[in-house]
């Protein structure tokens, strides 16, 4: 890997964008989180487990996850129609599958866990930021999880394997590959590839993604923990 390669926004190939995470931002929701990765901004609300309507959708031996990924009309340069697009429906499904792996669904038969993802600003890597925010919101809702799922995209840009692509890099990339993992259990819950990577490049990219996910996981844990260290008992 050539470390001299500097990217469009001045980052090194293996450098994440600046990350900001907050949990419990919404009062009405059972759990919520707000995540910024560079200019990508995502808000997630989680409700449940709760009684499922319509009842025919319920699974008799587990909870079901209903996930809605949605991009705000103002999230992109050109106005995006608020109606769900083919891409948004696909991403809802992909994120649902990545998160379902981590949730103890069998603990809550006949119920639903509803996840609402609102992309406020899109600058590449929205599905990864959404997954990171979902983990935080689910943990915040007190839903039993096997692990906090962490996710980041890697890609090949001008022949270099790079971490956490922004929109400009994503558009010009030869390949991009979002990865989500459960770090403490050593499991992959999402792996998609767009474009062409050689076997060697794939291995290099995958290892870089794992490294990025580990770093994101550390920030997620710090964020959740900070909620409790900041509220000390009021002396009176």
């Amino acid at each position: 890997m050539s470390t001299e390669f500097v990217r469009v926004d001045g980052r090194l190939p293996d450098q994440l964008r600046p990350i900001k995470m907050v949990v419990g931002v919404l009062d009405r929701a059972d759990g919520s989180a707000y995540v910024e990765q560079g200019n990508t901004k995502v808000l997630v609300a989680v409700y449940g487990p709760r009684e499922l309507h319509p009842k025919h959708q319920a699974s008799p031996d587990s909870a079901i996850v209903r996930c809605r990924y949605h991009m705000a009309p103002f999230s992109t340069k050109e106005r995006k129609t608020p109606a769900p697009s083919r891409r948004e429906i696909e991403l809802s499904k992909v994120i649902k599958d990545a998160m379902s792996q981590a949730i103890f669904l069998e603990n809550f038969p006949r119920t639903s866990i509803d996840v609402f993802i609102e992309v406020l600003e899109a600058d590449g890597g929205t599905r990864c930021a959404s997954i990171n925010a979902c983990s935080l919101a689910l943990a915040n809702a007190g839903i039993p999880l096997r692990d906090l799922v962490s996710s980041v995209a890697v890609g090949k840009y001008k022949g270099h394997i790079i971490l956490d692509l922004n929109d400009e890099e994503d558009e010009a990339a030869e390949a991009d590959m979002p990865v989500a993992i459960m770090p403490s259990l050593n499991k992959v819950t999402l792996l998609q590839v767009n474009g062409v990577l050689t076997e060697e490049e794939f291995k290099q990219a995958f290892n870089l993604a794992i490294k990025g996910c580990m770093e994101i996981n550390r920030i997620q844990r710090e964020t959740l923990r900070s909620v409790y260290s900041s509220i000390k008992g009021e002396e009176d």
Binding site: P49, R50, E51, F104, A139, G142, L148, L224, I231
Partner: protein, 229 residues
């Protein structure tokens, strides 16, 4: 009190076969991990996590406080603030002498009424069934009801009931804890009820901190002095 360690989902708690997973803990190979945000507790060989967030999960034998949401021909539907709505059968309320021609369900309990009840039956395949036959159970006619996150009920009770007994004594109130996160308070005066309600809110905010019982003691004494003057 010892240091309270906050653990997060997926956090490795202990390694080795001699430990048993308790509540909110799962086993993966030989290792035990937390599944919720909470406070780590290891009693003998059982490792558990006292959750700080989460919905109420019904258990047989729990006392709960519910709200009537619907009246049927032979039963009431009761919201117990859990993923599952509960059922109160008319045969239970009328002590088995229910006569649909004479007895009126809607006159007995109408939508919006609160009840203190016990869960007699619940499993994965059916919704919880309630009973109101028992000491302290039945419709709520006086006092106030306050909300508390169900996961913070253990903190409200305290070690061997230290916290709840303190509130009852200092607040001069009768307190019924619904395990589903609703608390029924009946006091001699509305001011006493209000004071206990405020103390419960304080417990909710500071549930994970140490020395809380002492602070609540101070809070109650101060509140009592203010209400006397």
């Amino acid at each position: 009190m010892s240091e309270r360690k906050i653990v997060l989902p997926g956090e490795l708690l202990v390694e080795g076969g001699e430990y048993q997973p308790g509540s909110n803990v799962f086993k993966y190979g030989e290792r035990l991990y937390a599944s919720k945000i909470g406070i780590l507790s290891i009693v003998k060989q059982t490792v558990s996590v006292i959750a700080l967030h989460g919905v109420y999960e019904p258990k047989v034998g729990d006392t709960v406080i519910g709200k009537i949401v619907d009246v049927g021909a032979f039963s009431w539907t009761v919201d117990i603030r859990s993923p599952y709505t509960a059922v109160l059968n008319a045969s239970d309320y009328f002590k088995g002498r229910f006569n649909p021609a004479k007895d009126s369900l809607i006159k007995a309990l109408k939508p919006g009424d609160m009840i203190v009840a016990q869960i007699v039956d619940f499993d994965r395949t059916k919704n919880p069934v309630l009973t109101v036959q028992g000491p302290g159970l039945g419709g709520v006619t006086k006092g106030i009801i306050v909300e508390l996150s169900p996961s913070k009920i253990p903190r409200l009770i305290g070690k061997k009931g230290s916290m709840i007994n303190l509130l009852k004594k200092e607040g001069k109130c009768q307190i019924t804890i619904g395990k589903n996160g609703l608390i029924h308070i009946v006091g001699e005066k509305p001011e006493y009820e209000e004071l206990v309600a405020q103390a419960i809110k304080k417990i909710e905010r500071e549930a994970h901190t140490t020395g809380l019982t002492d602070r609540i003691m101070k809070f109650m004494k101060k509140g009592r002095e203010l209400s006397v003057n």
